[in-house]
Symmetry: C2
Subunit: 134 residues, 2 copies
DNA sequence: TAAATTACCTATTGACATAGTAGGTAAATA
DNA sequence: TATTTACCTACTATGTCAATAGGTAATTTA
């Protein structure tokens, strides 16, 4: 299941895109609009900054801002950053130890196919696509 | 992420299908072949019996058996039983409290679409499909 | 009828993730 | 200098996951 980390991150990005005036947007405003605990969002946006999704500026007039146009943010990349991985089973995770049964495993192709489906779906959507629907 | 409960359940069903002679198959044999703790499998097959996927028989000559031909087991139904839900986000879970933001939520359509994709994928596959590949 | 085999039952555990909260410091602006 | 804002470390309650432990009940075979 996709956790709040990934889901809130996308909502933050959408909020930044929709209120983009060129100026920095304070997290307080985002938290109020999105009705999410500001303290919890702090943890999430910190990782978003570290991952290069947004930039932050301290002090009065500070806040956060997108670094690219919305069309250049794929949902897949955002989720992968925030959730650690987009993998749907443990044996297909990025740094997972290779399963000794992989060669004979009759279920692996199923998970691999679903993984591909998931990957293609989320990398085929951008922040811009979500905006159009709003 | 799909947990061992769902993944092991499918492997148990596959094992039962492949070694089906009409007789009951002891869990001990399945656990050895699949290299999964028998004690842990006990918990899993218990739920599979409760969910009507298989039947068990006690005593010597006992074990477990499928109740239908493999083609009539959809992977979706198995996973839904074992994982509790196939939902990919909390707000789309079966008994979830309705989200007060659902009407205005810009991300909900994304999750709903992915949910549909997931549902269709797993309900479109049966145990029989996995056997053919082996 | 006794022994063996098997399912079936309740309870417990260690490790980890999730979704936060609490209380600060540093930086920038007016 | 006061205010605003990001940024930092630490803590916590709750729950899930993946088992393990130690039994009882049912059934067959010798």
């Amino acid at each position: 299941m996709i956790s709040t980390r990934g889901r809130y991150a996308i909502r933050v990005l959408l909020d930044l895109a929709e209120h983009n005036t060129g100026a920095f947007i304070p997290l307080k405003d985002i938290a109020e609009r999105q009705d999410i605990s500001k303290k919890y969002l702090e943890i999430i946006v910190k990782d978003m900054v570290a991952g290069g999704l947004i930039v932050g500026a301290s002090g009065k007039g500070g806040g956060y801002r997108l670094v690219r146009p919305p069309e250049e943010y794929t949902i897949g990349a955002v989720l992968e950053l925030m959730e650690g991985s987009l993998a749907t089973v443990a044996c297909l995770m990025d740094g997972a130890a290779p399963c000794p049964r992989a060669g004979e495993c009759e279920t692996l192709p199923l998970w691999a196919e679903y993984d591909r489906l998931t990957h293609d779906f989320f990398y085929g959507k951008t922040l811009g696509d979500l905006l159009k629907k709003g």
